[in-house]
């Protein structure tokens, strides 16, 4: 805690608000492949940070490090000022505070939609089944598919599956939501309904760090856009700046391709 406050000051955070998630000079190598080479990034509470970058630039790796699905090779990651990259910290407790949704294979095919949504409430939070089901139904109602509560995930459309995965991730009220290209495996006409749900979460002041190739969404919904290039953050800033007047030539060249 103490060391963290020091570094907060040295980076001069405004008004003493602490970032919810902070990457501090994070490195990650796979064998001899250095994927992340010193990433420093703050995700402030109640903001949507969108990470963009070429395929293979390490966006997924960054998110997986934040969720402790990968161990960092160097540097530190803080959640609410606590060093979660410290191996002495209990990983399961940390993961409970962070929800994540992947590109595909999110839902458990051998459980009903409702059981998928309530799993963490029942098995991790320790809620009684009846209470968990009530909360689960409320979440399914919110995405308009409460009629599918008792069916298995393979009966849902891809867009419905991803929306269920999102509400499952937020069922036990995590402090942070990580979304890794959640629309990449979807047919184009299904992308909108999933992104609308993300917009709705933003309106409820959720904190979201997401990787996506949907630039128009990034432009309209992001508070901050982070451009990952060659293992470091090449440039970051609000969408107006990143799309309107980027400082770096590489940023302009990358974002231009999506206009």
């Amino acid at each position: 805690m103490i060391g963290v406050n020091d570094s907060n000051e040295s980076r001069g955070n405004f008004a003493g608000i602490q970032p919810l998630l902070r990457f501090e000079d994070v490195h990650k190598t796979f064998g001899r492949n250095a994927v992340l080479r010193g990433v420093t990034l703050d995700v402030m509470p109640h903001t949507v940070v969108v990470c963009v970058g070429a395929s293979g630039s390490g966006k997924s790796t960054l998110l997986r490090c934040a969720n402790l699905l990968e161990t960092v090779s160097d540097g530190r990651i803080f959640l609410n000022g606590e060093d979660i990259s410290d191996p002495r910290r209990d990983q399961d407790t940390v993961r409970r505070k962070i929800g994540i949704v992947f590109q595909s294979f999110n839902l458990f095919p051998h459980m009903t939609v409702l059981d998928n949504v309530t799993l963490s409430l029942r098995k991790v939070v320790g809620m009684r089944r009846i209470d968990a089901d009530a909360r689960g139904m409320e979440l399914l109602r919110r995405i308009g598919i409460e009629s599918k509560a008792r069916v298995y995930p393979d009966r849902l459309s891809g867009g419905q599956q991803q929306r269920v995965a999102i509400v499952r991730a937020i069922a036990s009220d995590p402090e942070l939501l990580l979304l890794d290209e959640i629309t990449s495996a979807l047919d184009p006409q299904l992308v909108g309904e999933v992104l609308d749900l993300v917009r709705e979460l933003k309106s409820t002041r959720a904190t979201i760090l997401m990787a996506t190739h949907e630039m128009s969404f990034a432009r309209s919904a992001a508070d901050e856009i982070v451009f990952l290039h060659n293992g470091v953050i090449e440039e970051s800033g609000p969408p107006e700046k990143m799309f309107g007047a980027p400082e770096k030539e590489t940023t302009r060249a990358f974002l231009e391709r999506f206009d």
Partner: protein, 278 residues
């Protein structure tokens, strides 16, 4: 009412299938007759028929052999339970990644290598004569020793089937479960194993069929099972019909399960063609 063209096509197909059915009947009859003639004309046929297919010895041996088969069934039942436990433990050990467990993992690997490579009969001899040779446990029932040998060998096979099943579950499933806050063992129990089991069922069924007949090998340790009972009768009468009787009983015992396996495999295939889970 189908069109005339379709009716014509159907009539043609019907004629074709009747033709090929007739053809295969004829060839079967010709083949059977040829075999029969060759046997009957061979010099020793009458003697072979008398020593292997004697109705008198068959009826006489059947109750005794059937009695022995009960031993095989008991061995089979305990072995299935033993294999289920041991194989799961070995498979789970082999799928761990923690460096602390390396010695255990290495042991499990050596175990599966050794017992899949060694002929069943050698394992039976080593266990059946080796363990009593230690003189720690006093006298041990040979049926029990045989059961242990069967468990040791089949656990190695089944452990590999289970491991393959576990590894066939998509890695994102595990990551998704851990991200929800589930512990490692919860993830295994609630998410990975239930999905793995479905993928394993056909292979497990095959191993079970093989095991059904391999329980007959406990006879080499002197356990009075179907094979051994037959052997005793043969030794008295010099007529081999009891062996045929016991073989027949083993076939009968495995038939229902073999067909269940076929049925299940066909059902699985239909399901997959109908479009599986995402």
């Amino acid at each position: 009412m189908p069109s005339a063209i379709e009716l014509d096509r159907r009539a043609y197909r019907r004629k074709q299938s009747v033709r090929s059915a007739l053809l295969s009947c004829v060839s079967l009859i010709v083949f059977a007759a040829a075999v029969w003639l060759a046997l009957a004309r061979s010099e020793g046929w009458t003697r072979v028929r008398e020593t292997f297919f004697s109705p008198r010895y068959f009826i006489e041996s059947l109750p005794v052999v059937l009695q022995g088969l009960m031993t095989n069934l008991r061995v089979l039942a305990s072995a299935v339970a033993g294999v289920a436990v041991l194989a799961t433990l070995i498979a789970l050990t082999r799928t761990t990644i923690s460096p602390v467990l390396f010695p255990l993992r290495a042991l499990a690997t050596v175990y599966t290598d050794v017992f899949r490579g060694m002929p069943m009969i050698i394992v039976l001899y080593l266990i059946g004569f080796g363990i009593p040779g230690l003189r720690i446990f006093g006298r041990i029932d040979s049926t029990l020793l045989g059961t242990i040998a069967v468990i040791l060998v089949y656990s190695a096979y089944v452990a590999e089937v289970i491991r393959a099943g576990i590894e066939a579950v998509h890695p994102s499933q595990r990551a998704a479960a851990r991200s929800l806050g589930l512990s490692h063992s919860q993830t295994m129990r609630i998410i990975v194993l239930p999905q793995a089991v479905r993928k394993m069922v056909p292979a497990l069924m095959n191993d079970f069929v093989a095991m059904q007949k391999d329980v007959g090998l406990v006879s080499v340790l002197g356990a009075i099972d179907a094979v051994r009972s037959a052997q005793i009768m043969v030794a008295k009468s010099y007529n081999f019909t009891p062996y045929v009787a016991s073989g027949l009983l083993f076939i009968l015992m495995s038939l229902p399960f073999i067909h269940l396996t076929d049925w299940y495999a066909a059902r699985l295939k239909r399901r997959e063609q109908a479009g599986g889970a995402v």
